[in-house]
């Protein structure tokens, strides 16, 4: 049996008639009569609508009659192909009609008649500028305002629930802290170490040229503690936990769990988002501290290998360079980034539409947007703490 029906049939010609055969279908053309016999199903419909249609169109007859007396079986696709060929002939100025047919054939011709098919109007296409205008308006009303509204809600409930410990689910803060913070430790430490090492390595040749080897310590300590440590941590947490937050909330929405929470009188923001916010705000500073330490250690190793700066010299100099401002910058950034990650993940999670496909979509978007916002915030905070 074939899976795809092929438009292949046999054609027998004589002086008086031409016979066309495909699968269970046999069509016999005698002047202005087309005798259709056998079965006309979905598998013969492609042949009928293509080969027979074109043949009749080029037959040069002003009127064609389809004789269905010998037709044993027809399905819905067969009926549609009959009408399809009829319409095709009408476009070429040839009038076609059906004749005969058993009770079952006539019933199906009636049931599947295209007259019963409701013609749906195509969606109205919007113009280019109209679309731009709508998108811009949507961006501000839906996205900017929606994000601000969610942020206000989350911060309100986060602060308010601090004073109502009974409203918090027992163990949820610890669970989320482990998930968002503790489980991210290894990857954060490892990547920060590698970045610190590479930064020192890249700058060592330039500094050696000017005999300014010792300044590699200044570079590493300042760059890592006030810039790279928090940024790398935020990007990793956004990719790891931000996506998980978006996927979790989106799935809850798709499976109507959020509706269930609402009908139980529970605020989904308070119940789902606030524990994640607490956990992220709490664990991010620790992750940033670990990232800073690992980055500086990586730099120290590279400085030792390529610039012959011993660990003793490196850390003595590091203590001189390090200021409270660097640590404060690190801390402030960690809090801002944590908020951005949780809010973005939640925002897109709540916006999910279209089931499973939508969950994947909002998860991806939430990570991209969270990383973009983190980098934008980094620029602003960089100016602030300059």
């Amino acid at each position: 049996m074939f899976i795809r029906n092929r438009i292949v049939g046999t054609i027998k010609k004589s002086k008086l008639k031409t016979t066309y055969q495909n699968g269970g279908l046999v069509c016999e053309l005698r002047e202005d009569m087309l005798y259709v016999s056998g079965s006309l199903t979905i598998y013969e419909s492609a042949y009928f609508s293509d080969v027979i249609g074109k043949t009749l169109k080029s037959a040069g007859q002003p009127d064609i009659t389809f004789d269905l007396d010998q037709l044993d079986y027809i399905d819905s696709a067969g009926v549609m192909s009959l009408y399809f060929v009829k319409d095709m002939l009408a476009e070429g100025g040839i009038s076609a009609d059906f004749r005969g047919g058993g009770e079952s054939i006539l019933r199906k011709l009636e049931i599947f008649s295209p007259d019963k098919v409701y013609q749906t109007a195509s969606p109205v296409k919007t113009g280019f500028f109209e679309k731009i205008g709508t998108d811009v308006l949507l961006f501000f009303t839906d996205y900017v305002f929606g994000f601000i509204l969610l942020a206000a809600n989350v911060f309100y409930w986060s602060v308010s629930d601090l004073f109502r410990p009974k409203s918090r689910r027992e163990g949820e803060f610890v669970n989320q802290s482990i998930h968002i913070g503790v489980n991210a430790t290894l990857i954060v430490v490892f990547l920060s170490f590698v970045i610190g090492y590479v930064m020192a390595l890249q700058s060592s040749s330039q500094l050696r040229t000017f005999g300014a080897n010792i300044f590699v310590v200044d570079l590493i300590v300042i760059a890592v503690t006030s810039q790279m440590g928090p940024l790398i941590t935020a990007i990793l947490v956004a990719g790891r936990s931000g996506s998980a937050i978006a996927a979790e909330i989106a799935t809850m929405k798709v499976t109507t769990e959020l509706d269930a929470l609402k009908t139980m009188g529970l605020n989904p923001i308070r119940f789902v988002v606030v524990p994640k916010m607490y956990a992220c705000l709490f664990t991010m500073p620790f992750l940033v501290i670990l990232a800073n330490v690992a980055g500086v250690l990586g730099g120290a190793l590279a400085a030792n290998i390529y610039l012959d700066i011993t660990p003793e010299i490196f850390f003595n100099r590091a203590a001189e360079v390090m200021s409270n401002k660097n640590l404060l910058t690190s801390f402030v950034k960690s809090q801002v980034y944590a908020s951005i990650i949780v809010l973005t993940g939640s925002f897109y999670g709540f916006r999910v539409v279209r089931g499973a496909e939508g969950v994947g979509k909002v998860t991806t978007i939430s990570v991209v947007v969270a990383i973009t916002l983190v980098i934008l915030a980094d620029s602003l905070l960089g100016l602030l703490f300059y």
Binding site: M1, I3, R4, N5, R6, I7, T41, I42, Y43, S45, A46, S49, D50, D75, S76, A77, M80, S81, Y83, F84, R107, K108, I111, F112, P114, K116, V117, Y118, Q119, T120, S122, P123, V353, R354, G355, A356, E357, G358
Partner: protein, 250 residues
Amino acid sequence: MAQEKVIDVKNLFASFDDEVVLSDVSFSALKGEVTVILGGSGSGKTTVLKHLLGLYPVKSGYVSVLNKDVTHLREVEQVELYLQMGVFFQNGALLNSLTVAENVALPLEQHTNLPKKLIREIVRMKLGLVNLEHAYYLYPSQLSGGMLKRAALARAIAMDPPLLFCDEPGAGLDPVSLQSLDSLILDLKNQLGMSVVMVTHEVLSILRVADRIVFLDKGVVAFEGTVKEALESDTQVVVDFFSVLKDHPR
């Protein structure tokens, strides 16, 4: 002359992790009839259905669908068999990324060489059959529960299959929508001669559409026969199931 069997199950046995789900299940479904598979939760209805659909391999016993022994079907043969059957999943299982029309057109596009214009017309006609013409451009997420079911039915019958499987078609529907869905299924049977195998719990729906009933209980067939025979049966599980009619006579 005996009616042709579209489904023939003999001594089907199934187990998962040492837990026996089906033990010695045998029944048949006849051509042009609606056969309803009934049973309580955990009775093995879904497992039977998945065996019929080729989603679970037959480890022990014999299962024939449309006169094909599905026990040892090669992949290509299974695909050929799938083309002869339509499946109406409980939750609709429409692809969310496609519109309703695209969902219905999918099997036609994939398995036939029909011109696109003709496919569009067929899709409109199928949607018309289930009273869903207006949903042509809508996405599944924009449909209500009842509309989703009807769209799923339109997709299931897109290829005019001689055999239609319905997994709990009435679940979650209001009585009016359920009645309209039952009428559609009856139309498919009466007008197109389609054979239908349905898993459902809806008593009224069973009385409306079923020709035969297969009642599963604890992994075995507790009863097999016509609706009339089921209503007169003294098998306890069947009596219990239909007792709702006695408790609430219409």
